[in-house]
């Protein structure tokens, strides 16, 4: 891990592997190295450009004509390799195609729709806390960060009760597949057949309960906004991106609040800080760590010349802790003004499910802080390894009711 030798265009070459187990165990020193090496770096290991400072990450996210998504937002270039699954019609699409599908999902997950589901999501959070208080010692990942979204999101989508155990494994394949052809990715794809079959089946109109997000997407076919063959693939986007992300988001928030008791106390004293506490956890932990873009032309970015058809890796997590942008970036502060963080991305592809994520986070943290006085970590937290997602596999805790 050295920032040695600048070659060619003056872009520093680094021999860092940001998809390696050692890196995942503690990414922060490498994030700093990447940020400090220069505004644009080159990673020899995977032959890609990288940006880790806030300004450049934000710039790349907001220039989709130059830094496109249709050639894949993982390492694999769809122009050169066959994607492992049919590409997403929203995530892996550029305008004008993206504009149309995006409008459909924005409508299905709008602020108006959030007002309608809020009470249901909040009631389920209270029920979860009832169960946790009953247990008093539990795994905050399985019993909380996973159990809560699983208790509401599949229902909100309108999925059948059978087969839901495929959901988290499917998402884990999707997010591993954005990475390079390492073991994580190869093994995930090898084991993906049953999960893919389940998901393909669930995305069909007849398998989605009326009134759910899935049925609302299919209803857009009748409006002429999308075709009947597009609708199942858009439902697939919610199945891929809507569950495991919030599991890691809520897991991050609970892990932060358990580690920083002063912040937990502040939240307990003022429950209106719950939404901010969740948002700050998304900045601080960045459950979605990275995404790629592909250049559509030769471009100069902060003095670096990048040719056409190059992959650019955006370190969202590093940008979210860039001292050029954030005061005391490494402290978790639930009153921080987080507006502008890139944990949900930025620009035209910025997370279309962000309102769902915030709602889940807000109501879950509110319920926890109202009813629980103390959360203590009682065992070594275990990390879950994924090429894109950052989160824990287990977090043993004991709680004291208020």
């Amino acid at each position: 891990m050295t920032a040695s030798g600048s070659v060619g265009s003056g872009v520093p070459h680094l021999d860092v592997d940001p998809f390696d187990m050692k890196f995942f165990a503690d990414p922060y020193p490498t994030h700093e190295l990447l940020r400090e090496a220069g505004p644009v770096v080159y990673l020899d290991k995977w032959k890609v450009y990288g940006v880790a400072r806030y300004a450049e990450v934000h710039a790349v996210l907001n220039d989709p004509a130059t830094f496109c998504s249709s050639r894949g937002v993982g390492l694999s270039d769809f122009k050169k390799e066959t994607p492992w699954r049919p590409p997403s019609l929203i995530l892996e699409a550029d305008p004008p195609a993206h504009t149309r599908t995006r409008a459909v999902l924005s409508k299905v997950l709008s602020p108006t729709v959030m007002k309608q589901v809020r009470d249901r999501f909040a009631a389920a959070a209270e029920e979860r806390v009832d169960a946790l208080i009953e247990k008093s010692s539990f795994d905050a990942i399985t019993d909380l960060a996973e159990a809560y979204p699983l208790s509401i999101f599949p229902d909100a989508l309108g999925l059948k009760p059978e087969g839901r155990e495929h959901l988290i494994p499917y998402a884990s394949v999707v997010f591993n597949a954005f990475g390079p052809p390492n073991r994580l990715r190869q093994e995930a794809i090898e084991r993906s057949t049953p999960h893919q079959a389940y998901v393909a089946e669930q995305c069909q109109r007849e398998n989605l309960a009326p009134g759910g997000f899935g049925a609302c997407i299919h209803a857009q076919v009748d409006e002429g906004a999308i075709t009947a063959t597009e609708a199942p693939l858009l439902v697939r986007s919610l199945l891929s991106a809507g569950l495991d992300t919030t599991v890691n988001g809520i897991g991050a928030a609970v892990y932060c609040l358990a580690r920083f008791p002063d912040q937990w106390q502040r939240l307990r004293n003022d429950l209106s800080l719950a939404r901010g506490a969740f948002e700050e956890a998304v900045r601080f932990e960045s459950p979605v760590q990275t995404f790629f873009r592909t250049t559509t032309r030769e471009v100069e970015l902060s003095g670096a010349r990048i040719g056409e058809g190059e992959k650019v890796l955006m370190f969202l997590a590093a940008a979210n802790r860039d001292p050029r942008r954030w005061d005391r970036p490494d402290s978790y502060d639930i009153t921080r003004r987080t507006s502008g963080h890139v944990g949900f991305g930025s620009g035209i592809h910025m997370c279309v499910g962000q309102l769902v994520a915030r709602l889940e986070g807000e109501v879950m943290l509110t319920a926890l802080a109202r009813r629980i006085a103390k959360i203590e970590i009682t065992g070594e937290p275990k990390r879950r390894f994924n090429n894109t997602l950052r989160g824990l596999d287990s977090l043993p805790v004991t709680i004291t009711p208020a």
Partner: protein, 107 residues
């Protein structure tokens, strides 16, 4: 540089110098105004930068796009005829003196 005024729900007002044609939302968050949350960072996706535009100024603002109109239906505080999203109002020299009221709540 053009300056704009934000009025809090309790009537207190603050005048802010804008920089480089930034949006009204950006000016507010740069000054740490609590009344503007701007959770999506100005991407017209969250409706937490809701403002009521002073009647005298309403007609002088550029028309709103369809996505802003749709988002305004989901604001936490009541949508009024003078409701706008402050991230969609770029402060040009013609808007020097603009007055925006902040709603009771953004979520």
């Amino acid at each position: 540089m053009p300056a704009i005024t934000f009025i809090h729900p309790d009537g207190k007002s603050i005048r802010i110098e804008t920089v480089g044609g930034e949006s009204a939302m950006r000016a507010a968050t740069r000054h740490g105004l609590d009344g503007i949350l701007a959770e999506c960072g100005g991407n017209a996706m969250c409706a937490t930068c809701h403002v009521y535009v002073d009647e005298a100024w309403l007609v002088r603002l550029p028309a709103m796009a369809d996505d802003e109109d749709a988002l305004l239906d989901g604001t936490a505080a009541e949508r009024l005829p003078n409701s706008r999203l402050s991230c969609q109002i770029d402060i040009t020299p013609e808007l020097d003196g603009l007055v925006l009221r902040m709603p009771e709540r953004q979520v």
